[in-house]
Structure formats: C-alpha cells, structure tokens
Symmetry: C2
Subunit: 429 residues, 2 copies
C-alpha cells in the first residue's frame, strides 16, 4: 500500500489484503495474510483499532477516521492526528526509553495508520483502578516518563532551533487542541448542549460552580497557559485511560493530542485522574478484587501513588537538571561554572514550584470537566446507583475547585490529602 493512495478506512475483511505486503507486519506475524485473524477492538471515541494475529504473533493496527468515531461524520476530525501521534510516540520513546510506549513498526501517513506492538496481557489502568487493583510500578514508571519526556522536550534540553522547528510542526495539531481548549477549559463552566452531569443530584452544585467567578477566571488563565505556553512536547491526554499496565509493566499510549504546551498540563491531568479514582472508590465498595471488603486500602494506595509519582517526577527532573541541562535555559556558565551551584538549585526550586502550582490548577479543571462536561470517566460512570455516583462526584468537584483556586497557597500533598480525607469522610461538605 503506497502512502500516496487516497485514504480508505480499513475493515476486518480488507485489512489482510491491504496490509499483507508490508514487511513490518509480515516479519512479525507471518506472511500468510489470508490466515490472519483480525479483531476490531477500538473502544475509544476517535479511531479504529484492530488486533491482527498471524501464526508468528500479533500486532495492533490503529487507523484514524476523518471524523469522531463516537459521534459520526457530523463531527469531522482531520486524519493528520495520526501523524502527530506517530511523531509523538517516536519522540516519547527516544526521550523516556524503549518500553515506555508501544513499539512502532510502521506508519502510513496517507492512510493515517500506525502499526504497533500488541500489548498483552496489559489492561487499561483506569479499569484496573476501578476493579481495585493496586499496581506497584505505576508511580515510578509514570513519574519517570513525565520527567524524561517533559524535561527532554523543553529548552532545558533541546537545541532551541530544534524545539522551535518542532513547535512549528505540532502547531498544526489545532483541531485536537481545540477539543481540549473547549471541553476542558470552557464548556464545563457554562450551560451548553454537549455538557451533562448526574442530575438532579448535582444540579445545585453545578450551578454554584458555574457562578464561581474565581474558579472561572482561574480556568481561563489556565487555558491561556495551555494554548500559549509552548514549553515542551506534552502527551496532551495523559489520563488513566491512556495508560496500559500489567503488574510489572506500564505503557503510555494514544498521544494524538500531543503539542508543545505546559509541563504542568500532563502532570496535572494524570494527578486529577488518580484523585478521581480516589473519590470514586466508595462507589465500588464490595466489587472487584477486594470483594466484600471496603476500598480504604485502595484509597490509601491511590494517595500513595500520587505522592510517589510526584516524588519520582521531582527527583528525576532534578537529576536531569543537574546532568542534562544542555539547552539554552539556565546556562551552566551563569551558575555551576562560576562556582554558584546554589544559583542553579534556586532556579530548580522555582521551576518545580511553578510546575507544582500549575499542576494543581490543571488537575482541578480536569476533574471538573470529567463530571460536568462531555467526556466522562468510567470511574464514576460505572457507579450504577445515581445517588451514590453523585455523592462521589460532588466530593471530587469540591476538591477540584479547592485545589484549582487555591493553588498558589498550597504547599504539599500532606495538606491536600488531609483535605481529601475530610471531604471523603463528609467532615467537609
């Protein structure tokens, strides 16, 4: 299949004939395409995803569609998101290491198609957390992934010329940024058709948040940073549904929202999803791995994951600051090279402080949009009892508002998690 051919969506039936000649596939799963089995497994909102299995193995074939799959052709979305996903994956692998994202075997730009590693027996992290599974490696793996991709994609590490060229490339990922700009930062905060929430239980709280001046000003300031502050190549959609895990392995997938944006955006979105998992646990009591038991140990696990993820992120970012700060920012000639290592430490503390403050803001709005906006989370959605779900969601909403608006005056997870526990227990309502 030549990259110059007009786009055509794959089907289970046509896939073997269309891809059977591609060495990147046949060398991995076997040359007898007629005997391949093809399964369509896309459960996301946007794309086609096939598992293609031959006698030698299996691969994933992911193909973008020229519209949002969930909605249909009435919501067009350009195929080029596949181009951005491919280029983000290659950069992430180079920056965070082989084995942090799926291995990429083949990319066809015209067909918006990526052939990549079939991850098995991996599951989506979000589903594992809903089931009450405690994955021991995620904090370490994700803390390292974020520190390495975000540091190494910034002017702390890259040559300025290379980063600017990359900014130019990813600036064209405008339609997917537009989705985030609307669905995360604006739509949740006023009444618009695409929004939904658990109603009538949350109606009054939702009205309160939509009248909350401080919150809305903060959300718009964060939107401005999201749109304008092109400091590093971010994943752009780093929630627990974009992570696949086993007990021993963690992979970050689906970076089609990638663009040059704020370091704190990825960190905040990930943290938000852990906090949402925390507040959703009481909706899953007695289900999953801890049948009959409560989810208190899961809640403690999640708070621990948050603390550890940040701690690993911070220490790895600091290590890179000390060892790989070869970009144009905070030039060593101003600090270490003239006998002022504390100047570099002062700058590092300030740099990470800024990430911390903005991380809390991004986390707050991410929590809100998953409960008030268009795209909800399975963490809450799978709680069948509407009253119970609303109780969980209300706690998360209040928590999100607090960390977003007060982000410049919050110093540590100790105070955040003390508050989370008080909200969870209903002491603060």
């Amino acid at each position: 299949m030549s990259g110059a051919e007009a786009f055509q969506a794959l089907t289970i039936e046509t896939l073997p004939a269309r891809l059977g000649g591609i060495d990147a596939l046949t060398s991995r799963i076997g040359t007898n395409a007629a005997q391949w089995t093809v399964k369509e497994v896309g459960d996301g909102n946007l794309n086609l995803v096939f598992i293609v299995t031959g006698d030698k193995g299996a691969v994933i074939v992911k193909q973008a569609l020229p519209y949002v799959r969930l909605v249909g052709e009435s919501w067009p979305l350009p195929l080029k998101r596949s181009f951005f996903e491919y280029h983000a994956l290659t950069r992430q692998e180079a920056r965070a290491g082989v084995g942090t994202v799926p291995a990429i075997f083949h990319f066809d730009e015209a067909q918006a198609l990526i052939v990549m590693e079939y991850l098995t027996p991996h599951v989506i992290l979000r589903h594992a957390l809903i089931e009450g599974r405690q994955l021991p490696k995620i904090a370490n793996d994700l803390g390292l992934f974020m520190a390495r991709t975000l540091f190494r994609g910034s002017d702390l590490s890259m040559k300025a010329k290379d980063r600017k060229a990359d900014v130019g490339i990813f600036a064209d990922n405008v339609e997917l940024c537009d989705i985030t700009e609307n669905l995360v930062f604006t739509d949740p905060y006023y009444e618009t058709e695409l929004n939904r929430h658990t109603s009538p239980q949350l109606d009054s709280l939702v009205a309160e948040l939509r009248a909350d001046r401080d919150l809305k000003v903060e959300a718009q300031k964060l939107k401005h940073m999201f749109a304008a502050n092109a400091e590093t190549l971010v994943h752009g959609d780093l929630h627990s549904g974009s992570i696949m895990v086993t007990h021993d392995d963690t992979r970050v997938i689906d970076p089609e929202f990638a663009f040059y944006g704020p370091i704190a955006f990825d960190v905040g979105m990930l943290m938000a999803n852990f906090w949402m998992s925390y507040f959703s646990q009481s909706g899953h009591e007695g289900a999953g791995h801890e049948k009959g038991g409560d989810r208190e140990s899961m809640r403690q696990y999640l708070l621990g994951v948050i603390v550890e993820t940040w701690s690993i992120f911070r220490s790895e970012f600091s290590r890179l600051w000390h060892t790989e700060r070869n970009g144009m920012l905070y030039d060593r000639r101003l600090f270490e090279d003239r006998g002022d290592p504390l100047g570099s430490e002062q700058a590092l503390d300030r740099f990470i402080h800024d990430i911390w403050v903005d991380m809390l803001g991004f986390a707050g709005v991410e929590i809100h949009r998953r409960i008030l906006g268009l795209a909800h989370n399975a963490d809450f959605e799978t709680i069948a009892d509407q009253d119970l779900r609303a109780t969980c969601e209300a706690k998360a909403l209040k928590f999100g508002r607090h960390i977003c608006v007060n982000r410049e005056r919050i110093h540590s997870f100790d105070e955040i998690h003390a508050l989370a526990a008080r909200i969870e227990k209903g002491i603060v309502a």
Copy 2:
C-alpha cells in the same frame, strides 16, 4: 526582477536597472529609472537601506544581507528575516492601523527586499531624545500601537486556528530569536567575548551583577517566558531606535525580530529605553535643544511619557477587552453573558497585572544588556566623558536590577519613579 532569481545584494549603481521595472516603485517615484538618485543610508547593524528618489517622489528600499552587516560574513544571518519583517509589518498595519508603520509597496522574498514609504522629516526617536526633544505624541501613539498589536495578535482576539498557523510560520524566525535569547538574557550575565562595558569605571558593579544569584535566576525565567510563551505577535525589538518620529507622527519600523512571544516583552523593552534615556540625560547637559540649560525638564518629560504610555496601553487594552474579546480566551459566555461583568473585570485586572510584573522584568534585563552586552545604546555611547558615562550607566544598572528582581512586589510608577529620582540624585547609590 523575478522572485525566483538568486539573491544578489543591491548597490547604488545596480539598483535603478534592477528595480526600474517594478510598478510599485515607478508609479510612486517616476518611470525614468536612469534619473533616479540612490543613497545608501543604512546605519543599523544588519541591512542595506537605500533612499531612492525620482522626479515624482522617494521610497525606501531595504534589503537584508545573508550576514550581519556590522560584523561581516563571519556572522551569517538568513535572508528570511526579510520575510518575517514583511509579514510583521502587514499584520501590524492591519492591527494598529494605517500610518503606524511605514506603508509597504513591494516585497521580493528571494531578494529579501522590501520597498516602503520614505518617512520624512522623521528622525529616529532615540536621537531626538538624546538631543533633548520632547515629542508630544509618542506616549499616546506607542501606547495605542502596543495595545492594538498585542491584543489583536493574541487568543483574546484571533481565531485559535489562525494564531496557531501564524505561530508555526514565525517559529522559523529562529536565528533572530537566538540573537535576543543570547544577547539579552544570557551573555550580559557572565564574562564572554562579545560583551563590553565602560571600564574600569563599571568593573566592580559589573562583577557584582554577574555574581547576583537572584538577578540571574530571574533573567533566565524571563528567557524561558520569552522563548516559550507564544501569546501574541510581538515586534521583538521595540526600542527607541525602532521608532521614527516627527512632532506630529510616530512610526514603528524594523520588526524583523517579530515572533509569537510574551505581550510584556515589547512593553518592557520600550519602557527600558525610556528609562535609559532618563538616566542618560545628565550626560547630555548643555547639549542639544536645551543648550546651556539642564535636562531636568527632559527627565520629567520622560517619566511622564512612561506613565502615559502605560496608561494609554492599559486603557486601550481594556477597551479592546470589553469590545473585541472575540477569541477563545475569557469567553463572554462565562462572564458578561451570564450577568457577571465583574468576572471579566477580575480577569482583566489579573491579565494586566501579569503584564505589569513581567514588563518590569523584561525592562530590567534590557537595561542591563545595553550597558553590559554587545549592543549598546547611543543614549550612553554618545556621552564622550567616560566617567560621566559610567556614572549614568551605573545608575541605570542598579535601577534595572531593582525592578527586575523586585517586580512582583512593585505596584506603581509612583514608587518606581521615586526610586529613579533618588538614584538619579545619588541619594541611593
């Protein structure tokens, strides 16, 4: 001359033959190219500038060279800066209005050549200020120019898609951004070959500043903002040498450093140049328009210009915020449309506060780099007496350090100008 021809630098001798067939010229200055007079007047560091006069009038022909004119071929600089200058000029004229920049008659990308309005009897603002001339319109004109170009080039006004496309285009102006990144934010703060300062008079103060941890951390944070925060199309070199004036007219020229950067950068650079003029006035006592007199009224004039420029900037930016806020940021549906105009006012105050704080930082480093770095200002350079010059420069350096490092804790020009007066009088040394 076709745009596809290989670049060739114009000379006084070849210009009429090469440009004599271009209607944009002949219609303005006359068709008899053989009788044109051509004068080369480029006094800048980078380009060729010709005044071409025919029987009907005169135009300016500005041509980039593939290297820095001042230094020679050993410092290559791409011709594409002419492309960025042309596109910045057209955008500035569209955003700030006809008559705020020179009218553009012709652009030849391959020859890196712009034919534009010959401004006469305009002079460079910097020279006028050195002479002690008080221009009555500059504060108003420059305040409006900045508010309009900076607001209308941002996501407050533009469609997000259009701004991102433009960010992609201007991200390629990497070599000129590189000059600013090095010469403004880094080189002044350590010993490097390109730097110079009035020596030995300033040696100890320079050593002190280069050992000043807080200052250097601040300068690097500002560099990060400069490089990453693509919030609007900035002029990028908005000092008093990039402004031509008469008593009644103000034109902003030479935007070849244009790129998408922080709103506060243009504002800070302009203010810095007014403050440098302020501290340089005592070096020009008895010279220029106020012969025999002192320059106290000129100093008061300059402080007044600064206050008025900011005031006009702020009020025009606010007017645009209220009337033209049609971009994706601070959507009216969140504020005015739901009966919360004070939400919009809160956001505006915060937005302008952030510009204020960063403006002071950018102003501080701009002052430093003009005294410690490669590119000095005529304001100080034309003070022949080295001791007198160093006295003026030392005051400016100390002032620059103060506003840069303390920028988050400074609230008004009242306190800044009270400090400036105390430094000028030697009360604070």
